[in-house]
Symmetry: D2
Subunit: 121 residues, 4 copies
């Protein structure tokens, strides 16, 4: 799916419920924080090994965590896209520009394998 399709689905969802007036930048920023908090809660008591296993483990606990992670990631994404809308941000354009800026900021030959360089993205 295109990012713009996701955004349109969210706009339609809000419009059908007449919720557009709630979609202000500060409301959505706080809602975004609420959902990021739920992502953090999922991971807060996991060891690094347990967290790494979520992606692939076949046992029920990992599958349940993967399912919940999908829900929380979706909630964060939804509020992030609505927030971008509320601030007049063209997500695809901004994303492409930021990635290009980061490629310049962290040249491959200098950044390779270095945690020190890996301060962003």
């Amino acid at each position: 799916m295109h990012v713009s399709e996701l955004q349109q689905a969210l706009r339609d969802f809000s419009a059908e419920r007449e919720w557009q007036r709630f979609n202000t930048p500060r409301n959505l920023a706080l809602a975004l924080v609420g959902e990021v908090g739920e992502v953090a809660e999922l991971l807060q008591w996991l060891t690094e090994e347990e967290a790494a296993a979520v992606a692939t483990a076949a046992d029920g606990e990992a599958a349940r965590l993967r399912e919940r992670a999908g829900e929380e990631v979706s909630d964060v994404l939804a509020y992030l896209l609505l927030l971008a809308d509320s601030l007049g941000v063209d997500v695809e354009r901004a994303f492409t520009a930021k990635l290009a800026a980061n490629a310049e900021k962290y040249p491959v030959h200098l950044a390779r394998g270095s945690a020190a360089k890996h301060t962003e993205l």
Copy 2:
């Protein structure tokens, strides 16, 4: 752009710099929080009116804020997509499923215009 293209661009970016080993769920969750913090900082002292004007205002201050908002939204999106990868989450599938679940949870005829119903998404 497809969501999967954004994800591929991020994977390539990390791979070129040999940064994949930093992309663990808990590292990325904390990095996500750092970027959400920057979104919050942009909006923290704005009035509701000032925040609403960011999307459309033609003056320099609003344009500068819109630009910075685009950068911060992009950083949040980048870490969110990398986090999804690290947790084995299929973003498009999860997003579609969550939106369908929310449509059922908030039926149009009950939710219309109601802040009380608008507790999520």
Copy 3:
């Protein structure tokens, strides 16, 4: 109560339950984020006027919000103090030093009433 009494109460609480091994910096940082998310959720759909009324309004809804705000603030405070412990931070000393540094950074005669200067604290 002294800050150190709050900290001791938290240490005792953890020790009695043999939870000290969970109190690592990154676990506690993620737990802090989870609780901050709950604070954000409380406020996300409130207008500025509704939020301002929470502190003093006598009606049931405001009293209920004040009660919940007290719980969430307490949770944030608890994880923050445990996090400080886990990082070897002396909270009182650090707080006093930071306030002094901010007093120097924002001199009264320059900062007075200015949103622009009010970027921190």
Copy 4:
């Protein structure tokens, strides 16, 4: 220091600069998120071992991180206490009540050493 002394110092700091009108619940919640983001940034690329070493290690890097952690914890604490003020929350009373509620929720004989029980505080 008493928690109330910290709060009074913050109130005085704001009053001297005529910043009280900025200290609304939603402004302060967003500012709190900004500072929590800086705490997260400090820890985002550290291994568990590196993070554990911050508290006690004598080398320069750990000392520098401890210093910065102290600053960020102080900023979070400052905004948290101002937020409590703005919401009419009595921090000491709320904290004591929440700790008592948690003691009841997680009885020592059931919670001992169990990550599963350690879902909050």
